[in-house]
Amino acid sequence: MISRAFLVITAGAAVLSSSLWSIPSEAQEAQFFPGLQYRSGPYAPNGIPFANGYADYLEMLNARDGGINGVRIHYEECDTAYNNDRGVECYERLKRAGPSEPASWSPLSTGITYALIERVAADKAPLLTMGYGRADASDGRVFKWVFTAPITYWAGADAIIQYIQEQEGGSLAGKKIALVHHDSAYGREPISTMQRLAGEEGFELSLFPVTHPGLEQTATWRQIGRQLRPDWVVMWGWGVMNSTAVQEAAAVNFPMDRFIGVWWSGAEQDVLPAGTRAAGYKSLGFHAPGADFAAHQDILRYVYDAGKGWGDRSGVGQVLYNRGLLNAVLAVEAVRTAQARYGNRALTGEEVRWGMENLEITNERWAEMGLPGFAREIKLTCEDHEGGGQAFVQQWDGQSWNIISDWIQPRNEALRPAYEASALQYATENRIEIRDCAAEE
């Protein structure tokens, strides 16, 4: 009896799995946007608003404009749980799941980015890693399929140091700066830049790695707050690590306005658990917070009023929501650019890649999209897949995030050679031919 029940289960599984061989597809002329998001797992509190912003914007375009220049958007998600092998599986599954070739990929995870770099090159699809992933992928001659717009971690590290320098009145000599970072591929990206700057500017850099998922920081912050007493603390954190760090910093009475996070450590989720004690905490940002844009109002009108919103109405305009929205904007604008060349139809990944490489979003264009002043102008080229690379500092006042600095321009004259050297090393290790940008049209 028992074994019969089993045979039924096994047989059922076999039938289901055999139907996996042919994945059904819609026979529509729609552009496919795959979403590698995470709405479950340890990083879900941060992944959810991002995913909502991404999906809502696409949904709004479909409802308001009927898609991109009349080509409808077909969006499908797969939950990676911020897990590298799940991410690879999702990628392999989604890449043929849509009505057309995928427009572009954005995994929102540096680890998954590393795993996908070779795959997207083989499958000819662009990979847009917006403010995460490999910094050296900014060199488009080696990383033809990867885009780092609008800014990389190395540029972010440079921007933070510039901001601190300005606050300190120009000189960092003899100052102490501590870097609290997630002990993973993501958290280690800024170290090399910070070390170089420490040498150049003469400040003393101390590293404090925090083990995934980041719950244990008592010792780290006792050391920072009670022994080292640095002038500034910089944080490269994600998920629960951020909120824990803010609370532990408050527990050792570290001054919040001398504590700066990268753009992934500056969302509502990171400061809310600490309550009022988080007021004064700063972070980098590369797009405006808040929902005071025409595009947001359109989202509320066309998506939420129609009951099709992915998240809660109150989440629209949160920092990470806006980040997801920005990601969607860049992906859509790349398609638009490519459509101007290849025609208004569902495009292949290769065509979208051309669009992304020739992407240019001017301030006028931002205003046209209903997002005036939302982010910086972006212009990508064959050599430069980062394009712009500016950031500002925002501060939490206990209620909301407010921009408190001008746009900071990272010193590309030092960063650019570093990208190129690192990319070149990657190219030799992996036998990649370096593109000759002048020869391409």
Partner: protein, 336 residues
């Protein structure tokens, strides 16, 4: 516990603490980059001890269930998460926290009854590893249910415990000793809970029955102790302990999925204290908590930082090599 043992601990523990401090102070003579100050050392020690109580809260749940049923309950972590999620969810509906606490307690009782009925009863007499595996099934099930019901977003849980830090002993040590009041309150709650559990286990009828079951299932059954209801009681108590742990941890970190992972921090506490001893869970927690923080800060200087991810385990393993049944565990007697 006899007087000899008490004096042993009474002198041994402060002795060890001061000895370790002295060693560190000696190191400063050799290595000038190494930082040591007595006030700082004691502050870290206290922070570590308070952290250790938080670990003990989770470890207690494991011990209760292991003691009475020999089941290594991997799902304890997700019970912590589930309890905290339920409580926050109820509070978001507008319930006062005391009411939400009571309601969540009731939910944990229901959970205990259903686990006994659905999972444990059909698996009676199976090898331990099978039961262990079944609790991993419960782990996944509970995680899924909790998140489906209450969502995966971060929620903050505030029942009014003060969170600011205070400085004490400013005249004794330079800079004083900084202590977080939240940790102090939680430690007090933990102490009260352990006292209640100790009374419950040693003085009440059910407690004696529990200890009988722990000693020998069959002998307990033959003298008329109802095994099934005992298991329900144990899982209920473990559920309530999980609720308290959930409130303590959730209040500190916010309630979200990661709470289920703190179970991993309780494991070294368990093996150090012994899987079957309630005082062991407390003492183990204190040792691990303090040892971990002190080593991270002072030893980390030499072997690299972030060592607290493994240091607790290695510390526990070294203890085990000396006493394979843990600090307070029952002596394992094996016969062919």
């Amino acid at each position: 516990m006899n007087t000899r043992m008490l004096t042993g601990w009474g002198f041994g523990v402060p002795g060890t603490i001061i000895l370790i401090g002295l060693i560190f102070q000696l190191v400063t003579q050799v290595d000038s980059t190494f930082y040591f100050a007595w006030g700082y050392y004691f502050e870290i020690l206290i922070a570590g001890l308070l952290q250790g109580v938080m670990y003990s809260l989770v470890a207690l749940g494991f011990v209760l269930i292991f003691k009475a049923s020999g089941v290594f309950n991997f799902a304890q972590g997700s019970m912590v998460l589930f309890a905290a999620l339920t409580m926050v969810g109820l509070m978001e509906w507008g319930l006062h926290w005391a009411l939400a606490f009571a309601a969540t307690g009731a939910v944990m009782v229901l959970l205990a009854i259903s686990i006994e009925r659905v999972v444990l009863r059909p698996l009676v007499n199976q090898p331990h590893i099978i039961l262990f595996m079944a609790t991993i099934g419960i782990f996944y099930l509970l995680d899924g249910i909790g998140q489906t019901m209450w969502g995966s977003e971060l929620k903050s849980l505030d029942i009014g415990i003060p969170r600011n830090s205070v400085e004490i002993l400013e005249n004794v040590f330079e800079g004083g000793i900084l202590i977080n009041r939240y940790d102090l309150v939680v430690a007090a709650i933990g102490a009260v809970m352990v006292a209640v559990l100790a009374v419950f286990f040693h003085k009440t009828r059910i407690g004696r029955a529990l200890r009988a079951v722990a000693d020998d299932h069959q002998a307990a059954l033959s003298v008329g102790i109802p095994l099934k209801s005992i298991w329900v009681v144990v899982w209920t108590v473990a559920g309530l302990v999980a609720l308290v742990a959930g409130i303590a941890w959730g209040g500190k970190l916010g309630v979200q999925f990661t709470l289920a992972l703190i179970a991993l921090k309780a494991l070294p506490v368990l093996i150090l204290g012994g899987l079957t001893s309630i005082p062991g869970a407390i003492v183990g927690g204190l040792i691990i908590g303090a040892g971990e923080q002190v080593s991270e800060i002072f030893l980390g200087h030499f072997i690299g930082s972030a060592i607290q991810s493994w240091f607790a385990y290695v510390l526990a393993m070294v203890f085990l090599l000396i006493r394979p049944e843990g600090l307070f565990g029952e002596k394992i007697i094996e016969r062919v």
